[in-house]
Point group: C2
Chain length 444, copies 2
Amino acid sequence: MIDRSPSPDADPLTASTLSRSWPSLSPDDRLHSFLRLPREEADDFFQSLPSADQGALLSALPRSDRKIAIRLLAPDDVADLLLTVPPAEQLSLLSLLDEPTRREVSALLAYAEDAAGGLMSPWFARVRPEATVDEAISYLKRQATGQLETLYYGYVLDAEQRLRGVLSLRQLMTTPGDRRVSDVMTTDVVAVNEDVDQEEVARLFAEHDLVAIPVVDGEGRMKGIVTADDIVDVVEEEATEDIQKLGGMQALDAPYLRTPLLRMLGKRAGWLSALFVGELLTATAMGHYEDEIARAVVLALFVPLIISSGGNSGSQATTLVIRAMSLGEVRLADFWRVTRRELASGLALGGILGALGFARVLLWEKLFGVYGPHHALIALTVAISLVGVVTWGTLAGALLPFLLRALRFDPASASAPFVATIVDVSGLVIYFSVAELLLRGLLL
Amino acid sequence: MIDRSPSPDADPLTASTLSRSWPSLSPDDRLHSFLRLPREEADDFFQSLPSADQGALLSALPRSDRKIAIRLLAPDDVADLLLTVPPAEQLSLLSLLDEPTRREVSALLAYAEDAAGGLMSPWFARVRPEATVDEAISYLKRQATGQLETLYYGYVLDAEQRLRGVLSLRQLMTTPGDRRVSDVMTTDVVAVNEDVDQEEVARLFAEHDLVAIPVVDGEGRMKGIVTADDIVDVVEEEATEDIQKLGGMQALDAPYLRTPLLRMLGKRAGWLSALFVGELLTATAMGHYEDEIARAVVLALFVPLIISSGGNSGSQATTLVIRAMSLGEVRLADFWRVTRRELASGLALGGILGALGFARVLLWEKLFGVYGPHHALIALTVAISLVGVVTWGTLAGALLPFLLRALRFDPASASAPFVATIVDVSGLVIYFSVAELLLRGLLL
């Protein structure tokens, strides 16, 4: 049966309908629905679940089913699953595996979860360089009967397990059978070290259009492969993390609706309180200008407009620079280039908003006569402040990620709300300084 | 040579060093550096470039080289490239192709760029259901000598070109050669319709861990395949678009440093001006409370604190909901669930910030004696307003994406700055209403 997704719901007992209702089901309902699936559909369905759901389901299954289910998974998937369950449970699940798989899973668990080594599958097709193409094909056939889930390339390893070259199945199929592997293999192999960060691995996939990348250790010995389907998940996860940090919180590490409320509040309350404490400085800054506000209440009216314009322009700049850094488009060395670009952008955008603000004050004066005899100077104060605040907001938003990266923090912590908070406080100082300069002796 | 990226720069004339300096080169420098590359490296390098760069480079090359270069690319890559050059250039480039490729490229150009049909490669390995496994292998070998860049599965098509099943190369290699294809093929194929959006295709890849998905038309006839390496690019691009919209601007559609300044300003100035016009309402709202501010200047001091807290909590909520919608975790039907969650979150977060604000006012009064005899009521006004503004900001941020989606707008337009603008205006009304209620007859 061909699943032309998205398709309407059909029978309530198939894997595809269950996967649609899955996110909204309670743990008990999940277990019961899962046990009602036909055997073969259940196996496929289990393999398609996220690691955390596999772990939860596995822990709830009867012991006999647990053994069957966990053995469906490749070692890298088992390792991912084990990272989602409590340590005591880990040992009990490990004991369900056969000895060679247990060793492979244990080796994988030793890698950092977000390094190439933590993503890779230890199963790949090995070929000896001195073999003929025919020998390589019959050797690959023997390996393919085992647990080799993915077979896209044959990797040519020497006696020390060092990666010497690669042969695609297409090359194998179209090369005369008596040629030597070492004579026909591709030696210009894109490989990654096991410690390389998964974001870097994702970049290589996107750049080279590969379906699998070999992972090697410091001595060039091949340890496994990372396949493109794993990278799709990684890219989604990394983007979600960046987006959530940009929104001014810690990354949730789990789908929104599946994150317990208290845990989600924990991820949000910390940053929100920190930003609040930062914003308290606005009350201090405003307090510093209390006399000026008392003398010219009209000044207070434009405070939200001016600081939010700085915050919005800072949000644009920080979003652009952080994403470009994540994608590797902008590096530390681009500091001056970005500074020039954003200085120009800030002045231009500030000029536009300044002109709009100037027009607004004069128009309202004309229509409603609300700003008194010094309305032209008030309009000029608002306009000049906007140019200053927007330019400063844009620069601060663009350069804060560089500062954070140079200090070895995550640039994505320069969230839009963080930049807005910095700009709010300094924006007030800019605004009231311009006002003092232009209106002293008149309104102030 | 094995490229264990990231590795230090070596020789200035290799493809890998050129690809590192590439983003910062001018069009002229790009052409000259490219022409200095050794022939074979130049071919690989050209194929690894983004479509827009391929297009620009191709237009700059001498005509003889253009023909060689464009013929290196698969039809789907040529189609992507053509979308980046002016229409007149398109025709001249199309004329460089051989007739069958030109027909395939023209067919691909007819698809929307972001639908499965626009992503797919028309080259895939066909197998007849009535063939034996041995016949299928020798048929695949003949196809593989042609332009079949990717060979992961053999697709089993009937006489009407309808997709009946699929055989992995691994299955072919390990099945006795005299079995019939129709007896050993997998019939439970995950396929997509040619009109399905690329985000949905990416979800299927992540869910089913595939390296290629077949694309079929409305009658189930197979049209091509989408491979996982194309999807990595799609996922990156979609995330970048969402992130830039969340930052309060239009998506750039090109890397930050390669977007001309004026074009980037256009993408930013529109939203920034729209937000500014929205923020002008804060000046109107503040004007409405001008008398209250004149009587109690102390009220003005907390305006930035209160409205920015609403903006920050709204930014968190809208970021979470928009990303969850993009990933398909939250649908329109989850409206009430999200409402309940965010109402609870808003009250809890508002309670925390309200308590912090209350403590701040009382502490400053104790330390500096700045808020006068009614400081307790001022503290209460600030605290209650914070609970109200944060709850409202959280709800508005979470529900605006639902509203936009229901109205068939892009939910990602509910950017953090957009939500902050809405909350700024309404936050002022909440704050001054609470103040009037608590302080009337005392300060007001």
